[in-house]
């Protein structure tokens, strides 16, 4: 809907430690490594779009058959995501896809991926600045 020129800076961090050149995060209890990548060039403001997920255990092995759900929002605004996004399995080892994601405001967002997989339950949190 909007040109990529409206794409603002994307910075990703985990637990406050900035990992600006990486979109890999470790889950809170350290059971999983999660790579989250928008399918668009940058993160669009306003448009529905999808992200790819690569889910691995702490040894780097792809995690198949995990139940994933995504919530999130803007912590400083106290509201969640404006859409009912879904996560589904896609082709490839440890590959999943988030569909129907929309960021409708510039500012600090948080994505919380709840993981129920072979290493047990855990949550991975991705912070981004839009």
């Amino acid at each position: 809907m909007f040109r990529c020129a409206t794409i603002l800076a994307l910075a990703i961090s985990l637990g406050g430690s900035a990992l600006a050149d990486s979109n890999r995060v470790a889950s809170e209890a350290g059971k999983y490594d999660v790579e989250l990548t928008p399918e668009t060039e940058g993160v669009p403001l306003g448009d529905l779009h999808a992200w790819r997920i690569l889910l691995q255990d702490s040894q780097g092995a792809a995690v198949e058959g995990a139940a994933l759900s995504l919530e999130g929002g803007m912590p400083t605004h106290g509201h969640g995501l404006p859409t009912a996004q879904r996560v589904r399995k896609t082709e490839g080892a440890g590959r999943y896809r988030i569909e129907g994601l929309r960021f409708n405001m510039p500012g600090a967002w948080e994505l919380r991926l709840t993981i129920a997989g072979s290493s047990g339950p855990d949550i991975a949190v991705l912070k981004l600045q839009l």
Binding site: M1, F2, L8, L81, T83
Partner: protein, 393 residues
Amino acid sequence: MKRVLTALLILFSAANAAAGQDAWTERELMLVRSLALSELAAPPAAPSNRVADDPAARELGRQLFFDPRFSLDGAVSCATCHIPQHGFQDGRTVARGIGTSTRRTMPLAGAAYSPFLFWDGRADRLWSQALGPLESAEEHGGGRTRYAHIIARSYKNRYEATFGPLPPLSHLPSRAGPVPDPDASAAWSAMLPEDRKAVTTIFVNIGKVIAAFERTLRPPVTRFDAWVYSDAFPLPGALNLQEVEGLRLFVGRAGCINCHNGSLMTNHTFHNTGVPPGPVSDFGRAKGARMVVLSRFNCRGPFSDAGAGGCPELRFLSNKGHLTEGAFKTPGLRGVAQRPPYMHAGQFETLAEVLDHYSTAPQSVIGHSELLPLDLSQDEKRALEAFLVTLSP
């Protein structure tokens, strides 16, 4: 380019120092540029309407838009409330057609970019939005057979050039449709299912050609845009210092850009900002989200031209009560100073009242307001208002 930008920033820092201001940050500049009209691409594809970009359909839609025969008393057209000379709105607190509505007329420029239409988003396609007022007792007040007969009588050639031969209609009642009027409703129920379907198809096509016309309505270039494109940017020039200060508040401390973002200055989503209720208790998006899912005229319905997967907005629609109760669509701000009153039922007469509301952020009567008090000073409110005035030609 980078060198030029650096030079500009240094220049501006000097000017800011003279004016007692801080320099613009890269982020602020990026946010300001993202509001410019040049960032507005062509309207998104409309797979649910196969004639959305058809020039002949567009012209037919333009004619229907201005034709008052498409109403109960022959005196109300789309343009009665969506007045072209007034930014396609009417300046009233609530719309007045055959009767009186409970909500304010929305302007139309840029409507093609919105995934959900109306203050509550109860329509998900521009063509289905156009159908709502045609059957509303307070707006056009007519019924489907009346509209189909007008097409057959006055627009037969143009209609058939786009949609193919009209079905036989002469045996159908002059006033019938699934509307609150008991006589028209009974006449509609008495019609054969195939006749109802044929008439509804014509009715939907009326919406589709009107949508094709409305897709062409873009907001004009404003004084703000001219300044962003100018050599002076981001120094005052086409915008004076007070207006520029207002813009800095808009993208900064006042947080207006949270919802009023992008070149249309709306995020097209729904927010509870605690505005006082209008003439009726209005739950806004909470009801609209339920209605759009159930509508036969939605993107997934039998009259949509979208194939499988063509309706992502409906697929990912969220209807979480705490987000939608008392929430209304963020209106775009282009031309805002020229179209008081404000909010979904014209609750505020002036921009100053609007800014007072956002500054104090009162509790919501329905649901929960997302606002936090801004405690803007009088000077800050005046600067914001001055900036909003620049969003017009």
